[in-house]
């Protein structure tokens, strides 16, 4: 049973010595997931907000669809994107397969419905009196939309963080679309998968610690902003 203790000891050594393979994987994870979450926020928050404040006939259907997309399996996202960007697929000419960009696309597709659906429910949950008060105070259509949006700001942040948590720890699509190429598309989760298979636990544990540390950092800063009531 010594290998567990050895695994942890090796992991700490790697973290302290800033092991190259570990750092590369961690940086790639951060780079890919931040790019994906940035894009998902750009599209998802306005989408959820727009659906939330407007009344239209297909609203219920759209909400149901978004909620269904929440449980989209990551390997299925991997498969769909793979089909599109593989050499013989419609976007094959772009040579995206097995690049970090392909991983960004996959994670973006996973994050978008989460950000949109949670932003939507935050928007719907905003007190109806917020808009009414804005109108009373003399806000025009745009100004009242901005006021409503501001009142929902913590909900949108929470939506972004929930989506980030999902894609940051995701392995299926990253593996299928990135290909787990060392030093190029190997991120935290694919590296953990590979090394566990090989029976080398140290790198896996080190990367696991880093992954959790990053997640912790993000949540702490979220809490900080929330308490400051920006």
């Amino acid at each position: 049973m010594n290998y567990i203790a050895e695994g942890f000891a090796g992991a700490f050594k790697m973290i302290v010595s800033l092991d190259k393979e570990m750092i590369d994987a961690a940086f790639l994870s951060v780079k890919v997931s931040f790019s994906a979450i940035f894009l998902a926020t750009l599209f998802g928050v306005p989408l959820g907000f727009y659906i939330g404040i407007n009344e239209f006939r297909a609203k219920k259907a759209v909400i149901t669809m978004l909620n269904t997309l929440l449980s989209f399996p990551t390997v299925l996202v991997g498969l769909m994107v793979y089909m599109f960007i593989s050499r013989s697929g419609p976007l094959g000419g772009l040579n995206l397969l097995y690049t970090p960009s392909a991983m960004v696309i996959g994670q973006f597709i996973m994050a978008l419905p989460i950000v949109a659906a949670l932003s939507l429910s935050s928007t719907v949950a905003i007190d109806k009196r917020v808009r009414k008060t804005a109108v009373i105070l003399g806000a025009d259509k745009w100004q009242s939309a901005v006021i409503v949006f501001k009142e929902g700001r913590f909900g949108y942040m929470a939506a972004i963080i929930a989506a980030f948590g999902r894609i940051f720890g995701e392995v299926g699509a990253a593996m299928m679309l990135g290909g787990n190429i060392k030093g190029y598309t190997r991120n935290i989760t694919t590296a953990i998968t590979l090394n566990t298979g090989k029976g080398e636990f140290s790198l896996g544990i080190a990367l696991g610690i880093i992954l959790l540390a990053i997640a912790l950092l993000i949540n702490i800063s979220f809490n900080y902003f929330q308490n400051k009531r920006l």
Binding site: V130, T133, I136, I147
Partner: protein
């Protein structure tokens, strides 16, 4: 001819097939305080929201200084920026009290330099001067309400609409609030339109009281309010309010059976005169009450039902009326409001 300050014409609001508001004409003057009294669910809030152009009516028109106001259009927006509405359960945004007031000034394009003093004065008028820095989320319900009222006092408004301003406010602050409302009304000639379910509150504060029941408005409080059975006789509609008293009304709908008559519309005569008025009853003066140059005369009919008539002091004296005198009360079927 001078334009009416604020006028509502043929306002109708329905929910499904039922009328929740139906106002033929309401003309309000600048600088007066109007109280609308009615039970819960009578349409007070709906009326206030339509008058303040917060929500549109199904049909009918609003005019402010002769200009038509449409809720969804530019005229509605600019009207809202010259007036203010305080909800029964108002809301403050998720920021401190000072910022909550400031945003109201920003949205209305108030000049930057006198904002601070403005906000301080408004908060002081509702006893909230120490709450500037406090987060809205940490205020009690009554404090939120007072802050929202302070928001209405920030600038000189043409009209301030208050929906149940005294609900959820403790006794001590009711006095402050009454004084503040009266002060704004006097100082800026701001017209005040408020609702209350407490009739005494309404009388205490307002120049004119209107009653609203089932979405219909009558001038005055619920005086001469009766209910009874509908009857039809020789093409005349009646409401039978007691075994011996039938009141002629004008109403096509057989469902309505509540009536009210404005005391101003009831004439007192010493003899049974011939006139076009369908309602003539003999009674005895039971009580009189002098108020602002007019006399409120309580006449009992058929030893059971009391009607109130409001006549001028001079006619009262000229007719030599006194307690116990036998008189006739006369009013037209058309002056009976039906609900």
């Amino acid at each position: 001819m001078e334009k009416t300050f604020f006028e509502a014409k043929d306002i109708i609001k329905k929910r499904g097939e039922t009328f929740i508001l139906s106002v033929t004409r309401l003309a309000l003057e600048k600088g007066k305080i109007y109280g609308f009294v009615g039970p819960n669910g009578s349409g007070k809030t709906t009326l206030l929201e339509i008058l303040s152009s917060l929500s549109p009516s199904d049909s009918g028109d609003l005019f402010f200084l002769g200009e038509k106001i449409e809720s969804k259009k530019e005229s509605g927006l600019s009207f809202r920026r010259r007036t203010h509405f305080v909800m029964e359960n108002p809301l403050l945004f998720n920021m401190n009290v000072y910022k909550n007031l400031e945003i109201a000034l920003t949205l209305r394009g108030a000049p930057k330099n006198d904002r601070r003093q403005n906000i301080k004065n408004a908060l002081a008028s509702v006893n909230l001067e120490k709450f500037e820095k406090k987060d809205a989320g940490k205020l009690s319900r009554g404090e939120v309400k007072r802050a929202a009222i302070a928001r209405a006092f920030l600038r000189e408004q043409e009209i301030i609409f208050f929906d149940e301003p005294f609900a959820n406010i403790d006794e001590a602050n009711i006095k402050t609030l009454e004084a503040a409302i009266k002060n704004v009304n006097k100082k800026n000639k701001t017209t005040i339109i408020f609702t209350a379910h407490n009739i005494f509150q309404a009388y205490k504060l307002s120049d004119e009281v209107y009653t609203i029941i089932n979405g219909s408005i009558t001038r005055g409080a619920l005086e001469n309010f009766f209910s009874g059975k509908r009857e039809k006789e020789k093409d005349v509609d009646f409401v039978k309010i007691s075994p011996n008293i039938k009141i002629a009304v004008v109403s096509d709908s057989p469902a309505v059976n509540k009536i009210a008559i404005d005391p101003k519309d009831i004439i007192i005569s010493l003899e049974k005169i011939e006139s076009s008025a369908k309602n003539v009853f003999k009674g005895i003066i039971k009580k009189t009450h002098l108020e602002n140059g007019a006399v409120r005369v309580y006449v009992e009919i058929d030893n059971s039902i009391e009607f109130i008539s409001l006549i001028t002091k001079s006619s009262f004296d000229k007719m030599n009326l006194s307690l116990g005198a036998e008189v006739y009360i006369i009013f037209k079927a058309a002056s009976v409001t039906v609900f």
